[in-house]
Amino acid sequence: MTSIRSYLVGETLSSSELASWLCRQLEMTDDGLSKVSLRYLDTADWDLYRHNLVLEECIVEKDRRLRLMTLGERRLLSSLESKKRPRFSFEIVESLLGKRLAPIIGTAELLCMARMKGKIHCFHRRNEDGKTVLKLQLEMLNVVKSKTASISLTPRLQLTPVRGYQDYFDSAHMAIQKELGFTATKQDRLLSARTSTIVNLADEDMRSDAESAAESIHAKLLEWLETAKANVAGIYADSDPEHLHDFRVSIRRTRAALKHLRKAFPPARIKPLAREFADLAQNSSPLRDFDVMIANLKQQQHELPDEHRSEMTPIFRLLRAERTEARRRLLNWLSSQRYGQLIEQWEEMLVGGELKSALAPGSPHPLEQIAAEGISELFHLTLAQGKSISPTTESTLLHELRKTLKKLRYTLELFEPLYKKGKIKKILKSLKGLQEGLGELQDADVQMESLRWVRAQIDHKTHPGSITAIDALIELRREQEQQARRELGQAFEAFTTLEGRRRIASLCATTKHGSTS
């Protein structure tokens, strides 16, 4: 029999639109919304997880039930209505659940490893006998990190087959994929919940040994993954360009990290992931570029003389049309199986223990060494690229330097837990001036380039006024660029002072846990 299918819900439809679609197209009956609280219980050593099992405590309204299920398929093995959460299997030894747990967890304590809260909207379909033949639920859940913090997960639609009524399930599955375009995911909710647990370790900053540093780095990677995932809904909704920005930053940070961490893995392990992340980043660029272009032009039109401002209307129209196309392409990517697989594979690697064991102290490629090599490599590249800075340096070279600095910053931030408190912060502070200078230069360049692009798209004969307006804006940006270039040399010198170089050199030589070779 087919097992449960879950779909990540894109925000092309609001939840009420989705509910009415389900009732109309799939003939589902709306059972209403319920508040739900989920806790995932396991031993400190994740014994159940290692046996491919999930023990979920589900509280819906006042009903509290423990469910032991297989991971992923969520095939129910045993359930128990319980007034109190058991701490040990022997507390529920009389129940079947207790009997099932005992051989796996022995006398180990059951701990709450992760917690989720939110709402579940239930639907069911009945046949002519009033018999339920299909179950469906829309889950809108948050992973609870602490009393005050939580991460909202991408909403999921969970389609549950009823044994013996496979046809209803198959047709609903087809409709959800084809008509709604939702991506099926095999990932269990627990994996998302596990993420939060590990992130919590980083928040608490509990230990100062090498293991804790590795865990903190691991947690950062998970946090970026969660940030990327959490922003996808916002990208679909197109509510705020910052969603895409945050998404891209998370992906960039992840890519920078993969570049270093690949050393801890066999050569072919990370490469496909890195390639997919690179492609994702590339595919998200055009939409971001148009967002920035439109925002900048909106600001810049106030710098124009009054008579030129109205000439900007056709320019905005053109940019919005291009932006729509760029957004369509990105959404296609995000709703593709390829994206789903990429996120699933990366998440599995993070929470499945593979990455953690690769980073654990005593592994063949110590984390300290990876950090030292990465920082050293990027710092020397920065020095080499920065040497040629002058007021006439080509923009492409400066752009390369800006990218290297960004990678250096991400790398320093990634490996920060390995070093004594404050050490990385000082370097990041000295990096800031140079980054800002290069940023301004880049902004001016990008804006000039985009203005030239817009100029080329506009018909000179029908919109002569628009052309004049654009020329005026290009001139303003050129002045800004010249100013930025003049200040850049000083900023670079400030970053590469003897003191600055010593700081970096000391990072490459030692970590707080000892010297690197």
Binding site: L76, S79, S95, L96, L97, G130, K131, R163
Partner: protein, 247 residues
């Protein structure tokens, strides 16, 4: 996997109601449960809103030509599945009679279910037949509802004689009073002083209650639509007793 047959030689004693409610309770307590409606009258299938029809009919099922797995239907209740009835089940006796060993045949059909289920309840048709023989031979326990009346006790006596004669004493025989009306002195008397015939009588009994009759209109176990009713409580107590004895 524990297999429990609800059986009585006499009809109308509350077998089907007990089968549905106990199977529901087993499922609620976390046991992966299958209820097999062996009665061609299909009351269990009706209660659980499943059409009484199986592909290939009863013959193909018993002879192993149909895959049991494909015939099982999920119910509206978590953990509880149903192997529905079929009108062709009325010929079960003929099919089983043809087989050399009816018990072995039934055991063979039950065997592949052991990976998927912790408990299988069989709702048997009334009477003492070849199917009864197969059930007595193949099941872990026989739960026998008994109305506290002479006719019902007579039916118990018939079955116990048959069981003894045929040597099917390896399965546990657990009688319990059903459709009890305590306003009747006869019922009260037999509850207070159960006859020796009812050896191993379970302490819990099921009252004659309107909620049980309502199962026909609600088409659900009592626990699902009247969880706080007296009948639901009594089925709960009966389940506790049964589970302690068998699981």
């Amino acid at each position: 996997m524990i297999s429990i047959a609800l059986h009585s030689a006499k009809g109308g004693v509350g077998k089907t109601a007990a089968a549905v409610n106990l199977a529901y309770l087993a499922a609620q307590h976390g046991y992966r449960t299958l209820l097999w409606d062996l009665d061609s009258q299909a009351a269990t299938s009706f209660y659980l809103r499943v059409k009484p029809k199986i592909k290939g009919g009863g013959k193909a099922l018993l002879k192993g030509k149909s895959d049991v797995d494909d015939l099982i239907k999920g119910t509206d209740f978590e953990n509880l599945d149903l192997l529905p009835s079929d009108f062709s089940y009325r010929k079960f006796d003929v099919i089983l009679d043809d087989a050399k060993d009816a018990g072995r045949l039934l055991r063979k059909r039950l065997k592949p279910l052991k990976n998927d289920y912790d408990a299988v309840f069989l709702d048997c048709p009334p009477g003492v037949s070849v199917l009864t023989e197969a059930v007595l031979d193949a099941c872990t326990a026989i739960l026998a509802p008994v109305i506290p009346t002479p006719l019902s006790l007579n039916a118990v006596s018939q079955l116990l004689d048959f069981r003894q004669r045929k040597g099917y004493t390896h399965s546990l025989y657990l009688p319990f009073y059903s459709m009890v009306d305590k306003r009747k002195s006869l019922h009260r008397g037999l509850i207070e002083h159960p006859p020796a015939l009812l050896e191993g009588l379970l302490e819990s009994h099921i009252p004659y209650a309107s909620e049980v009759e309502q199962m026909g209109t609600k088409r659900a176990p009592v626990g699902a639509f009247a969880p706080r009713s007296r009948a639901a409580e009594c089925y709960g107590a009966l389940w506790t007793e049964v589970s302690r004895r068998l699981f």
